[in-house]
């Protein structure tokens, strides 16, 4: 029954992706990627990855669309037709895709209850994290407590990157000069 939903959703995603690639107006392509990330968030929901879908909604549909538009306002909004040969890129894409598919062959089946990830630490987190940490959301307790130092490092990296970008763009300096 839910196979029908999967098929419909995936075909929507396929149409969106193809249309985004074929579209000449870059603005239209940005709008289509917005739709695509809405759809992929729906898809994550169907796969039960609620937190990923949440992130996809906020980052994919929200921020990245705005960032792309910001980029477009600085550049041209029409795609330039390329006169390169398209055979080599196609070859690269196919080889990469083939390698990736080959890589998935070794992975445990989807939703296999005997897969290592479901037999080692996951049951512990699911059963004990409420009592050990006291945070209702398991993902939050993993991110903020079990691997808190890792998250701290990540946040530091992102913060540094943000500060670097701000320094490069010189946003702070302009305000000092008062010519904003």
């Amino acid at each position: 029954m839910s196979t029908l939903i999967d098929i419909l959703l995936l075909s929507l995603m396929g149409i969106t992706a193809l249309a985004a690639v074929r579209m000449k107006s870059l603005f239209g392509a940005v709008m289509l990627t917005g739709i695509f990330s809405l759809l992929s968030a729906l898809w994550f929901l169907i796969l039960d990855a609620v937190d990923v879908s949440f992130t996809e909604a906020a980052v994919g549909a929200g921020i990245s669309t705005v960032l792309m538009l910001g980029t477009l306002s600085l550049t041209k909004s029409e795609e330039k037709t390329s006169n390169h040969s398209q055979i080599i890129p196609l070859f690269v894409v196919f080889v990469t895709g083939g390698v990736l598919i080959y890589g998935t062959l070794d992975m445990p089946d989807f939703a296999d209850p005997l897969a290592p990830i479901h037999t080692h630490v996951a049951p512990h987190y699911i059963e004990k994290s409420g009592a050990e940490i006291g945070v209702p959301n398991i993902v939050t307790s993993v991110l903020a407590s079990y691997r808190g130092f890792d998250t701290l490092g990540e946040v530091t990296v992102i913060f540094t990157a943000g500060v670097g970008v701000l320094l490069l763009l010189g946003i702070g300096r302009r305000r000092e000069d008062g010519d904003e």
Binding site: F27, M31, L38, L42, V50, L69
Partner: protein, 92 residues
């Protein structure tokens, strides 16, 4: 069963809205289509949550409703403030 039928019945609408987003012709048509598509997605998430008995989904539908709005406003703000070359935008 009820929710399954609803989800399936929402799909044609999403296909049509996607069609409008692809055809255009103006960028505002696309924004309108994306906005409608977002509303349909919100409804579909809520119904999907009921279908699979995971009512957490409703929280996500709520967030989506807000993100959809903020995204639309942000995009339109860019149109009015930033320069996108309005004449060049038409596809055909």
């Amino acid at each position: 069963m009820m929710f399954f039928v609803t989800v399936i019945a929402l799909f044609p609408a999403m296909f049509l809205a996607l069609g409008r987003a692809i055809v255009g012709p103006t960028l505002y048509d696309r924004v309108l289509a994306v906005n409608s598509f977002g509303t349909f997605t919100v409804l579909m998430i809520a119904v999907l949550g009921f279908m699979t008995d995971q009512t957490d989904f409703v929280d996500i539908a709520l967030t989506y409703a807000l993100i959809n709005f903020i995204g639309t406003i942000a995009v339109l703000k860019f149109f009015v403030v930033g320069d996108f070359g309005y004449e060049e935008q038409r596809d055909q």
